[in-house]
Amino acid sequence: MKKVLEGSHAVSEAVRLAKVQVMSAYPITPQTHIVEALSEYCSDGTMNARFLLVESEHSAMAAVIGASSGGARTFTATSSQGLALMHELLHWASAARLPIIMAEVNRALAPGWNIWMDQTDSLAQRDTGWIQLYCEDGQDVFDTTLQAYRLAETINLPVMVVLDAFFLSHTFEPVDVPDQDLVDRFLPPFSPRIELKTSDPFALGQMAPPTVYMEMRHNIQMAMEQVPDIFSRVEQEFAAIFGRSYGPMERVHCDDAQVIMVVTGTAASTCRKVISDLRSQGEKVGMLKLRMFRPFPTDLIREHLGSVQKVAVVDRNFSFGASGIFAQEIRAALCNRNGHPPVFGYITGLGGRDVTPEILAEIYWKTKNSAHPENESVWVGLNE
């Protein structure tokens, strides 16, 4: 049934239908609406679940790590400072191989205080071993959340579902919310491979000496390497039931494109319009929307960007002293392929600043009109 939902509540509805058993979170704008709805569902009996109140995000993550180790389907949500506070336990969750799902609303880090859209918070967690999926609209958020549970519980790794602050979290859109029995068909009850029980006690997470630690880390990577395959099967099953699929990335007008713009999140929606306008002017421009950031789809990037003339990456984030983070990753993916195109990095839309059609068009024209990047990163739209 179609409902008009804000992006935050698209997450909440998916979590409700996923029959999550244990949740824990600490409120932070712009994430709060997600867990507000869920805590109501817990207290009014809509969900048969426990909502654990905690005093910090660090404890929220610790609580769901505990619950997940006990074999429960779990959920948490956070943003910005809250995610940064969780950092230590993000490593723990992945290395303990726990299929925890977290909604992460992209928000700028302080100081100065800024509650608006910025991707640096989630991208700063790229090495924590979490799968990261970036969403474009309300339906994408809902569907990705459901898919995340299937993916995580199959691969035994945690998944971060990432959505833009306000542009997505607080924007109302029609979202198809399916009936429970359809969701149940797609997402059966969790049958955990790790399940601490008092009746069958064992120890988890204890000392791993040099003789085994490296193998454990290699093991995580081996699991990560299977994600593309499993994710595509999950999407196939999802499509069979709900009629929608997204893939780890989406290509728009890429086949004959000379310049491909790489975008993520809600900026992709704006970019669709810009591409369409430029195409109607005869420009050979395409768009590659990246949905899966971890594991990084290196093979697909090489395949789809390796032989284009120019790549323009739009980063709403920045790694200080280096460049935009998506641009870095794409350069790294391409560098071992002979004859790869120049990668133009553009920084824009930090701290909630709008990424307008004009800005995206400017990025296209700059790329088209330059033989080589003038800098590793070009900051677009800076005030004088």
Partner: protein, 580 residues
Amino acid sequence: MTTEQNFAEKIPLFISRSNISTELNKTGSWRFVRPKYHEKTAPCSAACPAGEDIARIEMLSSQGRYSEALEIILLENPFPAICGRVCFHTCETACNRSGFDEPIAIHGIERFIGDTAVRDNLTFSLERLPDNGKKICIVGAGPSGLAAAYFLTRLGYSCDVFEAETEPGGILRWGIPRYRLPDAVVNAEVQRIKNLGVKILCNTRATQNFLDEAKDRYHAFFIGCGHGQSLKMNIPGENMALDGLDFLNRMRKEKTESLNNGTAAVIGGGNTAIDVARSLVRLGVKTILVYRRRKQDMPAFEYEVETAVKEGVKIMELFSPSSIAQDGGEYILTLQPMKRSGMETDTGRARVVPDGETTQELRVQRIFTAIGAEPSESWQLASEENAETVNLSHCAFMANNPPFLFGGDLTNPTKSVADAIASGKQSAMALDTFFKKGLNAITNRLNSCLVGNGPALSMERYLDGKRSNRNPDMVSYEDINIDYFSPAPRIKAESLSLNKQMNPFDEIETTFTIRQVMEETRRCFNCGICNACDNCRIFCPEIAVDLQDGQRRINLDYCKGCGICVVECPRNAMALEEEV
């Protein structure tokens, strides 16, 4: 088939996991400091002249264990119902809870325990050493004499107490008015001492001859007869003033006295003056208290002064009586105004001098004096010439043959019931030490029995009791983890209003109810003692606190010495020490 079933087996899942116990990993080897249960001294306890283990009394009371609380009190003080009423409770002034909101109403809880013990005939067991065959003569059945008899009896002596009055109690019975301390309370707690086997011989006034004659029959003497002689003002017409102590004594004996309404002047600023003034108010007399220094310099306990003012006593401060004259049926009290000329360094009171030539006259129907008292006979003082006299904080020990001890008001710097009890206790310990180890051992032996760093003495420590090894370190407010406490108002006992009492000499303050005791004892921090809150065990990250039969023990095989237990102990009953 679901995706999970297809793939589950293919997904590598190599994690730290074992089915053998982590007990193999003895994390205790990482430790360089170790926690220990380390009970300390609460400031209330150290401030109590009788050295009661107050934190423990409050804890036991909060758990409804009133018999055990009674036992803890009786270790150090035979008179909980009396002290709960009349003690000036220095414990409450010292209470750490004052730093948080308001001090615990310790006196109210003590009174409840004392009253419950009497009403419900609570049983208790007190350690008592076997009879050592020594007989002690005690002069005066006031609080110090009765306390001396109580403690000496527990140390194995047999005691005879000689009392000049018709009934035992001394100041408790004849001095403190009934509205503060009813007869029944005195009787019940004196009975407890009689039950130990102490003989109290009333109507027997001790004299020099009596003592000379008794020397052959007793191994030692304790003189605790108090001050029998009122001080003189040395002013013209003094003989027309009535003696305050006599008045109080008559009030107790005759239950009431009919005075024509009218006005009375009471001269003095001590507790006796206040008792006289409050008694007069109860008889319908307009009462003016005349004091030569300032109100805040009065030796009377502050609470008593405040209550007297509330009940209608007028206070004229900075006036010194200069003469009394008769005029018809009235008296004219001439008063010299005084002014402050500095401060006395030893007492902290104002030094006063006459202020001008102009005197004031006060026309009253009666004048009472209560400016203090002194010993009535010379044998009531330790001989200054005797080289073998040891002066202790609450008694003087004269090593004659047989030895003589002087205590109570004769020696105490503070004239209070609690100090009288301290005197009886100190005398008992000193005498016992003298008999066992000689005169020179007394000071060291007593110093080993101090509560905290003194001056109070603990009989439990003297007897090497269960809690005698508690650390003298005092718990300060900063040592309390106040995160575990919420503000709560101090419980106040219901106080009858004076004009609504059936009889004006009925007791004015009521005993706490059980509910009030529960609420009030729950406010107590229980400074420095374990009340089994279990925080140490709950917070231990290594699960290294074992609980067996109600006892907690640090399992040093696993304790890493992180110190969390010590920090999370709300009441500083633990400590960290370096590994050696």
